[in-house]
Symmetry: C2
Amino acid sequence: MQKQAKAVFEQYLSKKNLKATHQRNLILETFLKTEKHLTHEELYEIVKKKDKSIGQTTVYRTLKLLVESDIAREVDFGDRIVRYEHKCCHIHHDHLICMHCKKTIEIVDSQIEELQESIAAKYGFVLVDHNMSLYGICNDCFK
Amino acid sequence: MQKQAKAVFEQYLSKKNLKATHQRNLILETFLKTEKHLTHEELYEIVKKKDKSIGQTTVYRTLKLLVESDIAREVDFGDRIVRYEHKCCHIHHDHLICMHCKKTIEIVDSQIEELQESIAAKYGFVLVDHNMSLYGICNDCFK
DNA sequence: CTGTTCGATGAAATTAAATTTCAATTTCGG
DNA sequence: CCGAAATTGAAATTTAATTTCATCGAACAG
């Protein structure tokens, strides 16, 4: 899975005549290892522990490249802060977010996906992407 | 429908010991008349034509009040710009957005709503709100 | 190898939008 | 009407995203 993402990234870089640098490799590896939704600053904090010389701008720009190469996806849980999640080699999922404790649960539901496709088709749209976020209160917080 | 929204707003204001001012009334009326998704700046431009003395801060703040009183809803179509749409007296709808011409279509689909409820229930969540945006290319742009 | 070119990098500056501040003004209950 | 408390508008601030620019480094030709 990680190997696949690395291969995709390499291909993307060479297609665009971009260079495979030490920084980009380290940032991609670090990104692949995290399973949470991180902002570019949060990823920068982790990357910095492995290589103090890497700047936050590079992390920011590399994440943009990961999005362009379909390895990452930008998500926004309603607070207008951009977070990144894995896209490559994962099936699409939606999010269930607790408005109280901010816990997020990833949902995979093929019925939803099918419905979305059929709605788009009904209006003559070719569906490219979508996001669905459900906001509520989780069991723990409801007590 | 507009009367209903105005009554809701009045009630909200008095409940919170806030005052019913000329500006708030005009902003609410103007908001109710627009059927598009506007930013606070865009709404300000329209309101200004009716009363030059109103400031954009007041429009911004009044929109926040409309959200609190459930008359309006904030939406974000992926560009991190907050737009406002009617919520009171409308059933919930989702959005289909053309990534090319930016056209947005409002979708009402009870099957989706039901599925969302049942997913939330499955994970022990009480659903409060949700947003679903489908991004694609419309018929016209596809040619 | 090694020089050269062009993309990459990092710190700092800039942009863009949201939000807050504050002095002056307005509302509304008494 | 009066006065306390909320509101207003302009301007300032905050916050996150994005760009700039002076080096630096990768990779390729020779």
